[in-house]
Symmetry: C2
Subunit: 267 residues, 2 copies
């Protein structure tokens, strides 16, 4: 196996990286690979749950910005990636049965069902790359950590069996940068868009910023304000609440690399 060195593939095309992943030559974090291209969260569900889940994404577009939904049973995509194999092109998958993690796999062909529908959901990597371009700091990247995520008291809009609280990610910013952060991310509604909350964590039910529910705590400097965005963990967490017989997702940080540039998501 290759050494873990994602930046080695910073300037490799998405198609080439997917090919290396498919061949088993990459099985680690995708962050930093194919820079400039959007990466996506993956949720694979059987068709009988797909309507409710699609409706959930329609009703909660800031938490669940759908980039593409596959045709039923199809392992290929038509819009965000050419010649992709959804069952093989992510470096690591998670298989859940009745809400319990059964295992992690580098290939899920063995589990594939004719009634599977794949949801590719936009990821904050895309807007963070735009924030950095705009000269804004992204603390967890500076500190080489995972972004801190919190379960809020904000109810998602229910759809069929899917319901739950909104999960947010947090990035601290000095007052002078907050408006710019709103406009830069607001230009990218396909990857969560504008923040959902700025300031007082208690107002959205977060007790202690130093104890995130997922990811790592980051430093908040004097004079900085916590800024919260809807997070792609929301749809996954909502699916897990329902404990379906079989669900496949990406393993955290092991994303699907699309052929779509981040700047193309500004539309």
């Amino acid at each position: 196996m290759e050494p873990i060195d994602s930046l080695r593939y910073a300037h490799t095309s998405p198609a080439e990286v997917r090919k290396l992943i498919r061949a088993g030559k990459i099985d680690y974090f995708t962050s930093g690979m194919s820079q400039g291209y959007a990466q996506a969260n993956l949720v694979i569900l059987p068709k009988d749950l797909a309507y409710d889940f699609l409706l959930f994404t329609q009703r909660n577009p800031k938490s669940c910005p759908v980039l593409e939904v596959s045709d039923v049973g199809s392992r290929t995509l038509k819009h965000i990636a050419k010649d992709a194999d959804i069952a093989k092109d992510l470096p690591k998958y998670r298989v859940y049965r009745y809400g319990v993690l059964e295992g992690e796999y580098t290939d899920v062909e063995q589990f594939w069902q004719d009634d599977f529908v794949s949801f590719l959901i936009g990821c904050s990597f895309s807007f963070e790359s735009e924030m950095l371009e705009a000269g804004l700091s992204v603390r967890h990247i500076e500190e080489n950590k995972n972004v801190p995520m919190y379960i809020t008291n904000i109810d998602c809009v229910e759809a069929g069996i899917f319901k739950g609280k909104t999960v947010v990610s947090m990035r601290p910013l000095p007052h002078k940068d907050i408006v710019k952060a709103v406009t830069v991310t607001g230009a990218m509604p396909k990857v969560h868009g504008t923040p959902i909350h700025i300031g007082d964590p208690a107002a959205i039910g977060i007790r202690d910023l130093s104890r995130p529910d997922f990811g790592d705590a980051v430093t908040i400097k004097d004079g900085e304000v916590p800024v919260f965005w809807c997070c792609g963990v929301t749809p996954q967490s909502v699916v897990m609440n329902v404990k379906p017989p079989l669900v496949i997702t990406h393993a955290p940080g092991h994303m699907f690399i699309t052929d779509v540039k981040n700047v193309q998501l500004k539309d």
Copy 2:
């Protein structure tokens, strides 16, 4: 029955107008009623077609900007209107069986099925109101006509059984106003957003602007350029292609009046 005088209700609240419609006191065009509030197209389908149709709207967001999808069997809405009755609150409905118009009704309670799903889809009335506010001319309003609509050669992205060509509406504008028309409508992605085409009609398969496929031809003055937007007739026309056993829609111009202000659709 009251005389046809929509402007009489220009400053009446949406809830009050819906009440008058429900009571049978209004059965005519809604244009001009409850000014400033969004009006919506309606498509009611049985649940077994709803997944494919919802996916079609997800894949064709500029043609099918969904404002709300009802719960299965529900005649009420949760987000864009309070205390509404979908089966009674539009002044006129059309009932289609196997793609054939069976009749027009002021109330569709008698046809209601427990498996019905209602799709409320954004309407160009909303962005036209913003265009007028911005000082742009809207020719068909000036000429007291219906907007001209054309079937293009642009394929919609297929979803299950639903496929077809994109239908566009056209508004002629002088060169100096085109950029403003793009930015004003682009700020409203929930009601079709930016134009899909500017200029040469032949480039999108339109042979003769003086012979629209739906609506009325309008005057194009010297130096004006035709500007085309995706049209809410697209989803209806795509549904009709499929000839489902039973579909209910609004009758043209007889829209659902929401509690949502047009300016709230800028988000």
